[in-house]
């Protein structure tokens, strides 16, 4: 008995718990300072740079990396690739938490957070792109919540409302795909208003298309990346169906990501040609643009292609990490690095340590909630009590893993 107690004490002081504890502690301090001293007390934001790292990372990256929800559910329910069914719930949970944390981060970032519902319920600016983003994110967050809630009902053992929502799966998926298509692209469209502030290599009339297409690659890569991490740390929570389908999901999504990335590379180069921006490639910003385009778009596309051909899961994992980093880099470049590029260095923005700490705090909160939900609720496994009610008759016709993935 005493040995058990000492073991428990040991397990509490793991490196993970210590790091998480420090981040949460710092995050709570910054939260207190933010809501007592205002934005000026914790951020380096100014009139020149009213949008900082909380928009670049928490919002732009958060939304792009949560795209796994709509890509996975569209693949499974709209395109009928039912062999990816076991990946839907983890992807929906990741997306739901991602969007919920985007909204949480917005509460820190806007001057008067209690007025966040105003654009939707009080004073709609229907001609504004930002209104469309706000409305879509609001509606999509509700949609993701409804898509996720059957897992909670199964956990609680509540059958009736769970069955009603499961019957709405296809409608919810289509609604989610439409909303995602709209706001993923609109986040790029936000920057169309600033052609004189954004460097010509990143500014393009096709920014909405770039944001949307890159979000698909980000979503597919995040599902692979998150699946790899889950396999490592939550393996004991996965049932045979999930484990059996996992390899097919990884190979199929890697193939999809390779094709999307190479298409994204092609439209980025066509975008350069349409604006005749070749001359900028031979400047400092051009070198940085080439790092992004060649190192974080073309390289992962090639790595994915080779890995799919060789069925090399380790290489797929690295390609997924590179793609995720590439999307983060792109969003940072558009919203921070190449934004206000003509201002003197003294007027440029660099985040304060408290802004960075708060972003880490929000990511950590997301990881903790994901771990809690996937530990206690049927995310990586199916609840035995509800198996006969699963959508699309998957259990009457069990699906074997398909090594070829997309395209067959």
């Amino acid at each position: 008995m005493s040995m058990d107690v000492s073991t428990d004490k040991k397990t509490l002081l793991t490196p993970f718990n210590v790091v998480v504890g420090v981040i949460l502690f710092l995050g709570l301090i910054v939260t207190f300072l933010r809501f007592t001293k205002g934005l000026a007390g914790v951020t380096n934001l100014s009139d020149n740079n009213p949008w900082g790292i909380w928009i670049s990372f928490d919002l732009l990256c958060g939304v792009a990396l949560a795209a796994g929800g709509y890509t996975t559910s569209a693949a499974c329910y709209v395109f009928g690739l039912k062999r990816y069914h076991s990946a839907v719930r983890p992807a929906i949970l990741t997306a739901f938490l991602g969007y919920a944390l985007v909204v949480l981060a917005l509460h820190y970032d806007v001057g008067r957070p209690w007025r966040l519902p105003y654009p939707i319920f009080v004073q709609s600016g229907t001609t504004s792109v930002l209104f469309e983003v706000g409305l879509c994110v609001f509606l999509y967050l509700v949609t993701l919540f409804i898509e996720w809630v059957p897992a909670a009902f199964e956990w609680l053992g509540v059958r009736k409302p769970r069955d009603v929502i499961v019957r709405m799966t296809l409608a919810l998926t289509i609604f989610g795909v439409v909303l995602s298509t709209m706001h993923q692209s609109s986040l790029g469209a936000l920057y169309l208003i600033a052609p004189s502030k954004l460097h010509p290599l990143w500014y393009s009339a096709y920014l909405p298309v770039f944001f949307f297409v890159s979000s698909i690659a980000a979503g597919l890569s995040m599902v692979i990346f998150e699946g790899t991490l889950s396999h490592r740390y939550l393996h004991h929570k996965m049932d045979a169906t999930y484990q059996g389908e996992h390899d097919g999901v990884v190979l199929g999504f890697a193939k999809g990501a390779a094709v999307v990335l190479v298409g994204y590379f092609a439209i980025k180069v066509v975008g350069l040609a349409l604006d005749n921006n070749w001359k900028y490639l031979f400047t400092g910003y051009g070198a940085w643009y080439l790092v992004e385009l060649l190192g974080f778009v073309l390289l992962p596309a090639i790595l994915y292609a080779v890995a799919v051909r060789e069925e090399n899961r380790c290489l797929i994992k690295w390609a997924a990490i590179l793609t995720v980093l590439g999307i983060v880099l792109n969003r940072f470049n558009v919203s921070l690095v190449a934004f206000n590029w003509q201002l003197p260095a003294a007027d440029r923005y660099f985040p304060s340590w408290m802004e960075i700490a708060l972003s880490l705090f929000i990511v950590t909160v997301g990881i903790l909630i994901f771990r809690f939900v996937s530990t206690y609720m049927p995310i990586f496994y199916e609840d035995e009590r509800f198996k006969e009610h699963a959508p699309l008759d998957l259990h009457e016709h069990p699906v074997k893993p398909h090594p070829q993935g997309f395209g067959h």
């Binding site: 193939k255 390779a258 094709v259 298409g263 092609a266 180069v269 066509v270 005749n276 070829q404």
Partner: protein
């Protein structure tokens, strides 16, 4: 690349011409890319 354009017509002719060439190249490139990715799948099917 450092062409001087005196009219919008000149600019569009140049940039759209370049874009058309690139789209043709992209079409062929993506086709080759797809054949590369799926090459082994066909071998599996033949077996």
């Amino acid at each position: 690349m450092d062409n001087v354009f005196y009219t919008l017509q000149d600019f569009l002719l140049f940039t759209k011409g370049a874009a058309y060439y690139l789209m043709g190249a992209a079409l062929l490139g993506i086709l080759g890319f797809w054949l590369f990715i799926t090459g082994r799948d066909e071998e599996t099917f033949i077996k």
